[in-house]
Amino acid sequence: MRNVAVVFRREFASYFATPLAFVFIVIFLVLAGAFAFYLGGFYERGQADLAPFFNYHPWLYLFLIPALSMRLWAEERKSGSIELLMTLPVTTAQAVVGKYLAAWAFSGLALALTFPLWITVNYLGEPDNGAILAAYIGSFLMAGGFLAIGACLSAATRNQVIAFIFTVVICFGFLLSGFGMVLGLFEGWAPQPVIDAIASLSFLTHFGSISKGVIDVRDLLYFGTLIAVWLAANAIVLDMKKAD
């Protein structure tokens, strides 16, 4: 636990040592706002909720989270600092979890900085703040899922661009599998349980149900399992490839 905290602190601080933190947060906030107001029709809808804001989070994360996760391990491998980290008295699991949690906390910080929108909607009307909180939690969990995938793929290469592209592709798959269009390809011939299984793999399905304001144990379990599986894969990939 102590070692996880040490790795976490170093990693979290490293975001702020370069313009990365500033650039990421500004772009995230600008895009999140632009999507909510222009594409989502935040004012035009005339409803006091944040649905137009949260609806675009999966698509926003699709490109921004891989940009955050791509450096997690690829950079350590490229600079050789991975050799230093892995010969310090820290286990692979502690390093994986510490670095992952730092990235997740950072994405959580970016998400939390969207609070002016929440203030705005409360000023304009009387939204269901419980549902908004649930959607924030759902969005944070979804960011965690994207990040776990990105962390694992970042460990597989020393090239950050490759890590970025692979992460976008795989995350896109995880988003699409809940899309009506994709599920439509299976409807009619595949048995319903198969279609349900494919849909249940999707971020959209689980994020959608949480952001309606219902925090179901199954959705929490989904994100928890997804994160755990990808982080375990991250540790395995790291042990296999760290010296390449």
Binding site: R2, N3, V6, V7, R9, R10, A13, S14, A17, T18, S79, G80, S81, I82, E83, L84, M86, T87, L88, P89, V90, T91, D239, K242, A243
Partner: protein
């Protein structure tokens, strides 16, 4: 004490380290010599637990590096090849991070930090980002990191690479000052360094241990009495590979 027993590392068909065994006792400064690609760094990476051997075992301070990695790593200080560190950190931030990972108790922490900062003359660059430092300074930051917890065993992969003659001299003086009760393994291809700091030298080439002796005895093997002649003879001569291991 480092005990290395029948250590090998293979990558597919290629054998990087081929059945190497040796022990290192406290008080020994072991120079690891060999041409580029001889397997020096690979061996050091296995000693420090970064690489997993294909076969064979490494024990450091009585701990098997594969089975008790944390205990073994805790008693080692390691300067990897090229002295990697975190470029975006300040020197002070980096050393504080290492002190945290090494879990130095509060009462020793300040003293140890001051000691390595003073020994490696880092006082003037503490607040600088590591990426802005010259090669020589980065190397010294890497050394400071390895020395910080005052380890029993020091593994230094080319510690003087990129240093100017004065800095080389300082690092050698530093190693000599610590040599008395520690185990120090340094890899180098600068032969005069072996004369200056080592009391034992191992020559490897093609992954195999070809000679193991004091630098003086090794030098005496050549008619000229020069270590580089012996080195060339052992690593390139017709006898390479069949040279008897002299322990």
């Amino acid at each position: 004490m480092i005990e290395i027993s029948r250590l090998s590392k293979r990558y597919g068909e290629f054998t990087a380290v081929d059945d190497i065994s040796f022990n290192v006792e406290p008080g020994q400064v072991l120079g690891f010599l060999g041409p580029n690609g001889a397997g020096k760094s690979t061996t050091m990476k296995m000693i420090t637990g970064f690489l997993t051997p294909t076969s064979g075992t490494v024990r450091v301070c009585g701990h098997d590096v594969e089975r008790e990695p944390l205990a073994a790593k805790a008693c080692m200080g390691y300067l990897p090849e090229g002295a990697p560190s975190y470029a975006e950190m300040t020197v002070r931030g980096f050393l504080e991070f290492i002190a945290d990972v090494r879990a130095l108790p509060a009462e020793r922490r300040r003293a140890r930090l001051d000691d390595v900062i003073q020994r490696l003359a880092l006082g003037g660059v503490l607040e600088q980002m590591i990426e802005t430092l010259s090669k020589g300074f980065r190397r010294r930051v890497g050394l400071a990191q390895a020395l910080l917890h005052d380890p029993q065993v020091l593994i230094l992969d080319e510690p003087t690479d990129g240093l100017d003659p004065n800095q080389k001299h300082q690092v050698r003086t530093l190693i000599n000052a610590m040599a008395k009760d520690k185990i120090i393994v340094i890899s180098t291809h600068i032969l005069e360094e072996v004369d200056a700091v080592c009391n034992r030298a191992i020559i490897i080439a093609g992954g195999r241990l070809l000679a193991d002796d004091t630098p003086q005895a090794l030098a005496a093997r050549a008619p000229s009495g020069r270590l580089d002649d012996v080195f060339r003879q052992i690593t390139t001569g017709a006898g390479a590979g069949q040279e008897a291991v002299h322990a």
